[in-house]
Amino acid sequence: MKTKERMQILRSEMPCQPPEVRGKNFREVPYGYTEEMAIQEAQRCLNCKKPKCVEGCPVRVPIPEFITLIQEGKLFEAAKKIKEKNVLPAVCGRVCPQEVQCEELCIRGKKGEPVAIGHLERFVADYERLSGYISSPVTVKKNSKKIAIVGSGPSGLTTAGDLIKLGYEVTVFEAFHIGGGVLVYGIPEFRLPKSVVEYEIQNLENQGVKFVYDNVVGRIRTIDDLLSHDSFDAVYIGVGAGLPVFMNIPGENLKGVYSSNEYLTRSNLMKAYLFPDYDTPLVLGKNVVVVGGGNVAMDSARTALRLGADNVYIVYRRSREQMPARAEEIHHAEEEGIQFNLLSNPVEILGDEFGRINKVKCQRYKLGEPDKSGRARPIPIEGEYFELETDLIIISIGNNANPLITMTTSDLEVNKWGNIVTDEMGRTSKPFVYAGGDIVTGAATVISAMGAGRRAASAIHEDLFPEKDEEVDFITVPKEKLKIKEIAISPESPRLKIILSNVSDKPLDQVKVTITHVHDFFENALLETTISRWTPEEEHEFSCPRMQENEKEYLLSVKDINGKLFSKIIVVEEENK
């Protein structure tokens, strides 16, 4: 196709749910591209000799290459191409602020609309996910080094994804009961379906990353414990900025005042939007005031609308141009009927005799000279106030660093805001301890946290193995290969017996079968054996001793040359005597 032809194609807008319908449900707002739309959009790319777009991407996704593959209809290959640099493409395609990153630098944007790089990234990731095939890397030789990653948010997942490919044994510690960090507790279902995050984490698990949930590092084990007691070779801290900032104005502890962290965690992680099917409740406001102008504020406002609010107001100190939220989110919020009160800020929250809020008093602002961040500084206008009737206020003016980790770790340098101090590769003041994401930079974006995770991974590798390793290849493998045929306890000796059968139509190579106690965190294997070639329909019997009479739960995990096949908990019930 000639450049002239490419130049004539207009940007394909992604079809969306109509605003009057989507304002009442939690389904994802954009429908996504169809295959035809994606290929057409891809053809707009001029495949520049010196692609600027890549420079705009914090993880340096090979953008022109993957778009070229879409043009050729090679969609799996396109997905593989992105995954070389980005472990979470389906997430980034949805939540990155492309208009100030890759798309801002796109040459097509100089005259007209830039190529919809974000939409295309989302498309190929979805295409691969929905096809039921997963690409996972060939297992490289294990290098016998153990890495602990604290926090399973975007930066932790990126670090884990990079390190597992390099042969490390990677364990991710997560405080919540499910993984994903801000991707599950912060970003709502209508913007990022949780099935997408779940899939990405499953993907990492298949590659061998171990996830330990319900584990608050800093309380149950400190960073020092991880290095000494649990003998990890390095620790990466990616815990995010989880300390809500309040405004310190009168009335802030009245009933009906939420931090956006609480509001969104209840709704997203605890699924309060499905109440009463899920148990966690959320106060449903009729007139909701959201304070702030970032993505989190937009998310809170749109969640409140979907939960049945009649009026949702955004109150923000600066004007629209300075709003830090993604352009698409502001646009969607506006379409849905969110009302913007710009250049104003709450000064007092008023309540009734029962301690329930009923009004918020705001002061009007004007813009002054730019401040350090380069944004115009908001200046309060003396004596100009107005009041909004409200029964729910969500404060969404940012997050500070959560001190839980820094408080409990020795020799870890932090700055005056409590953020961990690192070099540009994520090395902290403490040897073999690395950090990245919001805990270092303060609240920022998913993709910048991923960039930090990626840099830290390479720093860890450099520090632990000073010489370079070769690149890792990807292959595509289908799911479900082995099945359990039988589980038994032999009556004479207290041994556990498991029979497995290859139910796929291909032989499996280098199948490693491990049995451990479920409660044995450090996995002293009761059985560890490798079968070099396992032909279809062939059955193998595995047997291991039972250490204690009352230990009934075993973890069976099976990997082959391509990575993890499955892991299953087996509960042995005693026979009746």
């Binding site: 109509p18 591209y33 099917d277």
Partner: protein, 536 residues
């Protein structure tokens, strides 16, 4: 001949056979009682309704004493009240009633609102029945300030192993209303007084579970209990409802009149009207299943259209878009290719309109059940407008376009091109013909979920979009007038022994109903009987 007697110095009329309590109640004179009720035979158990009868040496129970010509009765002399207080205090001593006389009552109410919604009742502040409690009312009437007897907590275990019911006999005052309702009024004898003396308690004979005792879970015992000893698990803790509306139950053709309690715009409880005349035997579905059935998860809230983006999926759309799309597609087919599966659970109005539309496009394919649908399948219809969830609709090979209208999402709708959300019978106004051509009225009591619409209004919109005239009704009244004017409408009856609502199995939405059915099946099978013997 009119008969007269004198109560509290007032001449009142009575009829032969009436008790003094009945005469007094009719005359608007209050006599406290915890055991008597107009719909139950009186036994004089609580002794609170004692009265002073001139010429009598003792204070007889007014609930069992028939009125006689010229009788002179006083209901609240100081001496009588003193005796009553004593009797009442003895009742209170075996009921966790410390809160009644607690000096910190007011402060407690201020600070504790909302706490303790579970477990055994250990005081009024933990009792779900607090706002309806008859003991509290009598305590106020008798101005009880202290309890002179030590309070004995019976420490009986909470009985909550059965579906639907929770029983805390620590609260029971042995008034035997439940037993009379069960034995004397309904004739089930699922419960009786067991044990003797101090250990006397209400229970099942041989102490088996209620599932085995012959209990049909009609809930009458709960409705008559004056305390919080018997409660319906799903409907408790709501306190007094925001409103209570009488309407018709549409779970079968029987058309029972029922009172629906609404709190916070949700159906929270269903029970019979108080008056004895309206009282008839309720079934477990109507008494216990309606709130959970209608408030369940996955109610359809907005229309969806099936589209292919990356794969075929149902995407939310506006009503206008859904209707326009449906009408345009319907117009592409020949009349005989279009079929209508009309649910018998729909209102008369909706059924009338479906027939009218079918006639208009000259299709004879209106069916009401699976048998009829089988018939349509042999006729190889290409379009089906279904208002009833049936497994068959997923299996019609000849189908090219499927519109479904329901209150819930079902796996059978995977193939549907359009899914339209509609209202349940507590969310719309209308009429429904029941048994013996009885025209029952149903009322809109709560708002439907999301943007769901009543069936009659959906069909009008579709007909209009297809270009037919005469589907604009100013109001439901106008539509009803039209129906009255037209030829008599033959309306299918809802099956009487049905385990579903509009094709949604009740057990799918009401976990406890599932348990109930399972238990009954197991018990029946063990006795060599089948499921047909399970009466609901």
């Amino acid at each position: 001949m009119t008969k007269w007697m004198n109560i509290n110095g007032k001449r009142v009329v009575f009829e032969e056979g009436e008790t003094i309590l009945e005469v007094a109640t009719k005359a608007g004179i209050y006599i406290p009682t915890l055991c008597a009720r107009p719909d139950l035979p009186s036994i004089g158990a609580c002794r609170l309704c004692i009265v002073d009868v001139e010429g009598s040496r003792t204070y007889p129970n007014s609930c069992t004493l028939p009125a006689r010509e010229g009788m002179v009765v006083r209901t609240a002399t100081p001496d009588l009240q003193k005796v009553r207080r004593n009797i009442f205090q003895l009742i209170l001593a075996e009921h966790p009633s410390y809160c009644l006389v607690c000096k910190e009552q007011n402060e407690c109410a201020k600070l504790r609102h909302g706490e303790y919604k579970a477990g055994r009742v250990i005081g009024c502040y933990t009792c779900s029945h607090k706002e309806l409690c008859e003991i509290r009312k009598i305590s106020d009437y008798l101005r009880i300030k202290e309890i002179r007897y030590p309070i004995l907590y019976k420490n009986l275990p909470l009985e909550r192993d059965d579906p639907f019911l929770v029983r805390d006999y620590n609260l029971c005052i042995l008034c035997a209303r439940c037993i009379r309702a069960c034995q004397d009024v309904l004739g089930y004898s699922a419960i009786a007084l067991t044990k003797r003396g101090h250990d006397t308690k209400v229970g099942t004979i041989l102490e088996v579970s209620h599932l085995e005792s012959g209990c049909v879970f009609c809930g009458h015992c709960i409705d008559v209990c004056p305390t919080g000893a018997l409660i319906a698990r799903g409907s408790t803790w709501f306190g007094s409802p925001d409103k209570s509306v009488e309407t018709t139950c549409l779970l079968c053709s029987h058309g029972c009149q029922m009172v629906v309690d609404v709190k916070w715009d949700k159906v929270v409880n269903v029970h019979p009207p108080y008056e004895m005349s309206a009282r008839r035997e309720y079934c477990v579905k109507g008494r216990f299943c309606i709130p959970a059935l209608l408030n369940g998860r996955n109610r359809l809230e907005y229309p969806t259209i099936k589209r292919k983006v990356l794969r075929e999926e149902h995407y939310p759309v506006s009503w206008d878009e859904a209707i326009k799309y449906t009408a345009e597609e319907l117009k592409k087919f020949k009349p005989e290719e279009i079929g209508f599966l009309v649910s018998p659970f729909l209102t008369d109005e909706a059924i009338f309109l479906f027939n009218k539309l079918a006639k208009e496009i000259s299709s004879n394919n209106v069916v009401y059940d699976e048998e009829g649908l089988n018939d349509l399948i042999t006729r190889r219809i290409k379009v089906l407008f279904s208002t009833y969830n049936s497994e068959l609709i997923a299996k019609i090979d000849s189908l090219e376009f499927l519109v479904v209208q329901d209150i819930y999402q079902h796996p059978n709708y995977e193939k549907a091109n359009v899914i339209l959300p509609t209202t349940a019978f507590t969310e719309e106004d209308g009429t429904k013909t029941g048994e013996e051509f009885m025209k029952n009225v149903i009322k809109k009591i709560v708002e439907p979920p999301g943007i769901a619409l009543p069936s009659w209004s959906i069909i009008c919109k579709v007909a209009q979009a297809m270009g037919f005239k005469g589907y604009i009704y100013e109001s439901l009244d106008e539509l009803q007038d039209t129906i009255a004017e037209s030829d008599s409408l033959e309306v299918p009856l809802i099956p009487k022994q049905s385990f579903e609502y509009m094709g949604t199995p009740i057990s799918e939405k009401v976990n406890e109903f599932d348990l109930f059915l399972n238990a009954k099946r197991i018990i029946n099978e063990s006795k060599g009987k089948g499921m047909q013997d399970v009466k609901i």
